[in-house]
């Protein structure tokens, strides 16, 4: 039996098939569907979550590897200023990438990588946005970083 700690709650998980990814476990077992599946191979960033505070891709992580670690998903944010900034700057359209963008940006602030727009772009470059809201994503992250 594996125990996943997600957003502060412990979930016992029977992983009869150990190939279950953290992403599938979150979405299909724990009903935490805020984390999205976009590419199955770590190439889009839609499934970005925090593991012990660091951003990782849930699709490339086995649920079983997360035993004893603290996972934070978009559902675990408590009115983070980035969420409000994303809305005010219209930093998304369809919104499918948004959970991943915000989780990535939360981590980026902690990594002190938001000093310049070039930094924000480099360290947000693992999150694709097909609607092309990139300018507004930079604006939202920049604003929160400046006021942090």
């Amino acid at each position: 039996m594996t125990t996943l700690t997600v957003n502060g709650t412990e979930y016992p998980l029977d992983l009869a098939d150990p190939r279950v990814t953290l992403l599938d476990a979150l979405r299909d077992r724990l009903d935490l569907t805020g984390t999205k599946k976009g590419c199955d191979q770590g190439a889009c960033g839609a499934c970005t979550v925090l593991c012990d505070g660091r951003r990782i891709l849930a699709c490339l992580t086995l649920a079983a590897q997360c035993d004893g670690r603290e996972i934070t998903t978009i559902e675990g944010l408590e009115s983070h200023p980035l969420q409000d900034a994303f809305v005010r700057h219209d930093a998304f359209q369809c919104g499918y990438c948004t959970s991943g963008q915000i989780m990535s940006a939360v981590a980026l602030l902690g990594e002190n990588r938001a000093g310049t727009d070039a930094d924000i772009r480099e360290y947000m470059s693992g999150n694709l946005c097909r609607c092309g809201a990139y300018s507004n994503i930079v604006a939202a992250v920049r604003e929160v970083a400046r006021h942090a």
């Binding site: 599946k37 976009g38 889009c44 097909r130 994503i137």
Partner: protein, 741 residues
């Protein structure tokens, strides 16, 4: 099951304001329910067996091994399709499941429902199909013109041939010719196809689906299920991007068939690889152009041959061909025109709608030609365009008069006057290649290019294009409250704000709720062709005005609105809204008022190219677009950014590579779309020259930037390299190896 679209708006805004997305809070908290997030207890998972071959006879299908897998509830083939076996947007030529043959790689052959997605996939793999592989027809020009090539479709190999014929002078002092190609682009929305079909007690099915057009889905699904339309009820689930790829059906009929067969809810979620096979793409194009002009650069004639590869099935190819033909000379005054636009059937992946829809391909070619003409005439790229620019009163190649403002020359001058960005720093992230450090400045040349595009807004060529809105005013918590109900698909474009703002403006009531889109209200038409603000916006306005008229009458006796609503109950009106009628193109001459509205966008691209390695950094994109009336500035800018980014992708990186009918790169590691480091900052100027025929004078805005950014970037790369570069996407090879030669 309920689909939330967002909280009630509490603050009055109205049109012209940057109302924030009512669904924004749900989207930033992860609560917004996309179609892939839907869940019902006891539901089954669907999987699709697809053809590995682009062309083959199917000699036999044995579903036995799949049925034996524990957890499998149903395995279906074409024999299990309850009603009509074929569907399609324009021609019903696409089999629900392949019958006796497959015509493209990835064509669905059989379906499985199982209690776990992996069980369903594994069972599908166990279905034994015996193929007799045929040689695939993959060259669209041969398919169309070589009569020895076997027909791919029951319609032959030509979807549509649309000529445009104007005048008879095809000689000029200055003549430039060129052959151009556009690769196959994918919409690559981030949320792959998904949906949930729930069998209903009345024998029908309720389908929760991410789509662009609920009613045309319903129209296609019901006959195949052999059900009356009222037993096929669709509700829009959250849509993770669309861009044209959700205009055709994907798994809608499949999920419904499995749900009806098993009596259980069935959910489908495509993975990324399957998504590349699960929807149509942008038509790749081969185009040959000849432009003739006088020595002052004034166009005398344009001759063009345009071949668009529609792949195995019709989809919306006929309309795509119509756009390429009718807009094939661009927004220029051309007294003599000789265009032949063809759509073909081949065994390549089916192509259909993608943002820009036929106009994108032609725009790349005619804009490339305008640059060649400028060079031949010794004029600047801006000047050649200004000299030939259409304006209000000009004729399109179709003979249609542009009867609304079209200040292209002014737009170009404004674009030209925008300040240029300074030189890039030597920060790796500002150089071509980025942090992969391919240059510290060596080989880097700057180039500037311009692109101009003209796009028809709304459906054209006589299509009965309309939308429906139901608007209701009632008391909620003792306060007047508006409910707006349409079937229009919010796909991220922000229609949900526009509808809210229109209702606020027309009714003077701040509190507006957008009811989830479904088929219990009349059709809204498609969320495509940049048409929803126009048509559904028009319908919401009409219904709001009708409600307002009744409320005004009721309050004429001095009662307050609240009092009236309390005493008389809710007031509700439903209205259909149609734009101005359009007409078919003459099949021999292409003449006819085929479009209802035309929109212009112009781009300037500044690029840095490492000419030795062929790597490119787009430094800045500037655009001027005339939208008639700005409804929501923030959302509008987002549309221009997004359209521009997709045009950038087509210019520099995006292509589904197909060899012998097979897709070589169905993944996000090899089908590359722009990252945040690829998309530069933009300078925008948005003009408001109203179209008096449209609600509030608005012009559709989502597509035009997708047209003009591609040729602008290509032109900038040409300027930096001095190479002709007649194909997009431009690959590093095209530059580096040509420079070497």
């Amino acid at each position: 099951m309920s689909i939330a679209t967002g909280r009630t708006q509490e603050t009055g805004q109205g049109i012209g304001q940057s109302l924030l997305r009512p669904d924004g809070t749900l989207k930033v908290t992860g609560e917004f329910a996309y179609s892939s997030d839907l869940w019902l207890d006891g539901m089954l998972w669907g999987a699709t067996l697809r053809s590995p071959h682009p062309s083959a006879w199917i000699r036999s299908i044995d579903v036995g091994p799949a049925l034996k897998v524990p957890g499998v509830f149903a395995v279906l083939t074409h024999e299990d399709v309850p009603g009509e076996k074929f569907y399609g947007l324009e021609h019903k030529d696409q089999p629900v499941l392949a019958i006796d043959q497959v015509r493209y790689q990835g064509e669905p052959i059989a379906l499985v429902a199982a209690d776990h997605p992996e069980t369903a996939r594994r069972a599908a793999d166990l279905i034994e199909v015996v193929y007799e592989v045929r040689e695939a027809v993959t060259d669209p020009r041969k398919a169309a013109f070589d009569l020895t090539i076997p027909p791919v479709s029951v319609h032959g190999n030509l979807v549509r041939h649309q000529p445009v014929r104007v005048g008879g002078t095809f000689t000029a002092d200055v003549v430039v010719t060129g052959e151009y190609e556009v690769g196959m682009q994918d919409q690559a929305f981030l949320g792959p196809e998904s949906g949930l079909a729930v069998p209903a007690e009345d024998g029908g099915v309720d389908l929760y689906i991410a789509t662009q057009w609920l009613h045309v889905d319903q129209d296609q699904i019901a006959p195949c299920l052999n059900l009356p339309k009222d037993k096929v009820r669709l509700t829009l689930a959250g849509v993770g991007g669309a861009f044209g790829a959700r205009e055709d059906l994907s798994m809608q009929i499949h999920a419904s068939m499995l749900a009806l067969r098993t009596g259980k809810p069935v959910k489908f979620v495509y993975g990324r690889e399957e998504s590349f096979f699960g929807h149509v793409h942008r038509h790749p194009a081969w185009m040959r152009y000849e432009h003739g002009a006088d020595r002052d650069g004034k166009l005398v004639y344009v001759k063009a041959e345009i071949v668009l590869d529609g792949g195995a099935y019709t989809s919306s190819s006929p309309a795509v061909v119509g756009n390429a033909a009718s807009l094939g000379v661009g927004p220029y005054e051309v007294p003599n025109v000789f265009i032949d636009a063809y759509g073909t059937y081949t065994n390549n992946p089916p192509c259909g709608a993608m943002r820009g829809f036929g106009a994108v391909q032609a725009c790349y070619a005619y804009e490339s030609q305008m640059d060649r003409l400028a060079e031949a005439c010794g004029l600047s790229p801006v000047e050649i365009r200004v000299r030939n620019a259409v304006s209000q009163g000009s004729l399109l190649a179709t003979g249609q008069v542009i009867d609304t403002p079209a200040p292209l020359a002014d737009m170009l001058r404004e674009l030209d006057a925008m300040p240029l960005p300074g030189p890039s720093s030597l920060d790796l992230r500002e150089l071509p290649g980025g942090v992969a450090q391919t240059t510290h400045g060596e080989g880097v040349r700057r180039g500037i290019g311009y692109g101009v595009g003209i796009k028809n807004i709304c459906f054209s060529e006589g299509f009965d294009d309309y939308s429906t809105a139901r608007v209701r005013v009632e008391l909620l918590g003792d306060e007047p409250h508006v409910l707006v109900h349409t079937a229009a698909a919010e796909v991220g474009q922000g229609l949900i704000m526009v509808k809210t703002q229109i209702a606020q403006t027309e009714l003077g009531i701040d509190r507006v709720t957008i009811v989830p889109a479904d088929t219990t209200v009349g059709s809204a038409g498609s969320s495509s062709a940049s048409r929803q603000s126009y048509v559904t916006g028009g319908a919401v306005r009409a219904a709001s005005l009708a409600v307002k008229e009744r409320l005004d009458a009721l309050t004429a006796d001095g009662r307050s609105l609240t009092q009236v609503l309390a005493e008389e109950g809710p007031v509700e009106e439903t209205r259909e809204y149609r734009h101005r009628r359009t007409f078919p193109m003459d099949p021999l001459t292409g003449q006819g008022d085929s479009h209802t509205q035309l929109a212009l966008c112009v781009h300037r691209a500044v690029v840095d190219v490492d000419v030795e390695l062929g790597l490119i950094k787009v430094v800045e994109l500037a655009a001027v677009q005339d939208v008639g009336k700005i409804l929501n500035p923030l959302a509008l800018e987002g549309q221009i950014h997004g359209g521009t980014a997709q045009g950038l992708g087509l210019a520099l990186m995006e292509e589904i590579q197909v060899r012998d009918g097979k897709v070589l790169n169905p993944s996000f590691t090899d089908y590359l779309i722009p990252t945040i480091l690829d998309m530069p900052p933009m300078k925008l100027s948005i003009l408001e020259n109203p179209d008096p025929h449209a609600p509030y004078g608005l012009r559709g805005a989502g597509e035009p930037p997708t047209l003009s950014s591609t040729p602008a970037i290509a032109a900038a790369v040409r300027a930096a390299t001095g190479l002709p570069l007649s194909r997009v996407p431009i690959r590093p090879d095209d530059i580096a190896l040509a420079v070497l030669a």
